[in-house]
C-alpha cells in the first residue's frame, strides 16, 4: 500500500513544553488509521500539527510529494486535507445549507459534490433550512463531517467524532467512515472508544508521551488486550 500522508520525526511545542517528540507515522491510501492513547498523549496535537495549527519545530509532514509544514494553515485544506475538530465547531448562526455552501465554496465545488455529501447524510436534507446551532449533537457531527467532505479531501482528520453521541448516531458515523474508505478517502481518526476503533479502523497507532509507540492491525487488538491496557489504561 502507498502512503498518502507521512509524518517523520515531528517535534511540536506548546510554548516551552514539548508535546510531540519525533513522532512518525504513515497513513495509507483508503485506510482508516486510529490514534489511540491516554489523555494528553498528543493525539489531537498530531492532527493540529498536520493542519498547521501547531507549528512543527522539526520533522516533516508530507501529503504525497507535498511538504505541508511549509504551508500556511489555510492552504492545508486546499492541498487536500480536511479536519473535523473535537466539539464540531459549526457556524451556529448559519443554516445547514449555508454551512455546506461555505464548505463547497472553499474549493470551488458545486452541486455534484453537494448531492454526494447529502447522500452520505440523508438526515441533513430534511434540515437544510434549520439553524445549525439548533441541531442535535449527532446531526451537528454529521454536518461537521459533511462540511469537511465538501472539500473532497484525500485525507480526512477526525477528532473524537463519536464523543457524546447516542449509540444510533455512533453507528451512523461509523458507517460513513467505512463508506469513505470505499471511496478512497484516507482517514486519520482520534478515538477513545475501543469498540468504535475495532469496528472501523484498519490499523491502530498507539501514542504515548508524544511518540508513536506501536502500530498494529486493528483486528489483532481483540486477541491482545494487554496492548490496549498498557497504552490506554483500559481493556
Amino acid at each position: 500500500m502507498s502512503a498518502v500522508l507521512t509524518l517523520s520525526g515531528l517535534d511540536c511545542f506548546y510554548g516551552e513544553v514539548q508535546v510531540l517528540h519525533g513522532l512518525s507515522l504513515e497513513l495509507n491510501k483508503g485506510e482508516v488509521l486510529c490514534l489511540l492513547g491516554r489523555n494528553g498523549a498528543g493525539k489531537s496535537t498530531t492532527l493540529k500539527a498536520i493542519m498547521g495549527l501547531v507549528p512543527a519545530k522539526a520533522g516533516s509532514i508530507r501529503l504525497g510529494d507535498r511538504e505541508l509544514t511549509a504551508l500556511a494553515p489555510h492552504e492545508v485544506p486546499k492541498a487536500g486535507v480536511a479536519y473535523v475538530p473535537q466539539g464540531r465547531r459549526l457556524f451556529a448562526e448559519m443554516t445547514v445549507a449555508e454551512n455546506i455552501e461555505i464548505g463547497l465554496m472553499a474549493r470551488g465545488k458545486g452541486k455534484p459534490t453537494r448531492d454526494r455529501v447529502l447522500d452520505l447524510f440523508p438526515v441533513l436534507r430534511q434540515r437544510l433550512g434549520q439553524r445549525s446551532g439548533t441541531l442535535s449533537g449527532g446531526e451537528q457531527q454529521m454536518l461537521a463531517m459533511a462540511r469537511a467532505l465538501c472539500l473532497e479531501p484525500e485525507v480526512l482528520l477526525l477528532d473524537e467524532p463519536t464523543e457524546g453521541l447516542m449509540p444510533s448516531m455512533i453507528a451512523r458515523i461509523r458507517e460513513t467512515i467505512s463508506s469513505l474508505r470505499g471511496e478512497g478517502v484516507s482517514t486519520l481518526l482520534v478515538e477513545q472508544r475501543l469498540e468504535a476503533v475495532l469496528s472501523v479502523a484498519d490499523r491502530v497507532c498507539f501514542i504515548e508521551n508524544g511518540r508513536a509507540r506501536e502500530t498494529v492491525r486493528a483486528s489483532s487488538l481483540r486477541d491482545n488486550p494487554e496492548l490496549v491496557r498498557r497504552y490506554v489504561g483500559v481493556g
Binding site: L53, P73, H74, P77, Y83, I102, A106, L151
Partner: protein, 321 residues
Amino acid sequence: MKSDTGCGKAIALHLVVIAGLFGLGFVLPEYHHGVLARVMVLAVFSMGYNVLFGYAGLLSLGHAMFFAAGLYGAGLSMIHLGWSAPAGFAAGVIAGAVLALGVGVLALRTTGVAFMIVTMMFSQVFYLLTLYFSVWTRGDEGLVIPQARRGLDLGAMRLDFTDPMTRYMLALGLFAIVLLLTLGVARSGFGRVLVAIRENEERTKMLGYDTFANKLSAVVVSGTFCAAAGAAYALLFGYVGSTFASVQYSIFPLLWVLLGGAATTLGPFLGTLFMYYVVDIASGYTSAYMLIVGLLLILLILYFPKGVLGTVRERWLRWLP
C-alpha cells in the same frame, strides 16, 4: 426555492424603502427634509461600519478616521487645490480606501480588544493630525467649503448641492447605492465568509479560507463606504471639521448599528434615524438629554437585545437580510 423567495422579498423591501424615502423628499416639512438628508449620509457611515462589525465581527473604535478621511479628502482638495466637486468626492473616497488598507494591514495583526484599541489609537493620531496641521485644516474651527464650489455644472444647467431638494436626492442616491451594495455583500460568497469568520475564525481557516485577506477586504470596503459618507457630508453640508475625526464619531456608528441591528442591511439606517431624532427631541426639553437617551437605550437593549431589526429577524422574519 425558499431561499429564492426570501431573496426576492429582501430586494423588494429595499426597493420599497428607497422608493418611500424618495416620496418623502416631496412631502416632508423643511426641517425634517434637512434632517433626513443628514441621516441618510450618516446612515451610509453606519452601513460601512456594519460591514466590519456586523458581518466580520471586528469591533473597531476608529472609524471616525475613515469618515474624516473622506471629509478632509474632499474638503482640502476642493479648497486648497481648487478641484471640482466630483473630483473632490473621488479624492475623499480614495483617501478613505487607501487609509483603510494601510490601517487594516497593521491593525489586523491584532484581534479582539487589542484590535479595538489599535484602531482607536490610529484614529486618535488622525484626529491629532487634523489639529496639528491647522494651517491647512484650521483645526477645531474647521473649514467651510464655499457655496459656489458646492455644485456641478452640467452644460447650461447647474446642480446646486446647497439646494435642499438636490441635497436630499443626492443623499438618497448615495444611500441607495451603498444600501444595495451592502445587500450584495451580505448575499455574496464574500459576505458568507465574513460571517463564518465572525462565528469561528479558526474553523473558517480550516476550510481553506485566507481569513486575513478576507478581513482586510472587509476593512477596505468598510472604510471606503465610511469615506464616501464623509466626502458626501463635506459636499452636501459644506463643513469640514476635526470634530468628525474625534472618538465620539467612532462610537456613534457602533451605537447606531447596535440599535438598528448588527449584520442587518437596514438596521444601521434605522439606528441612525432613531438616535438622531431621540437626541434632537430630548435636547429640546433638557440639557441633560443624554440621560433620556441612555434610559431609552437601556430599554431598547432589554427588549431588542440584537437591535431592532436583529431581534425582528430572529423572532419573526427569518428572511430579513
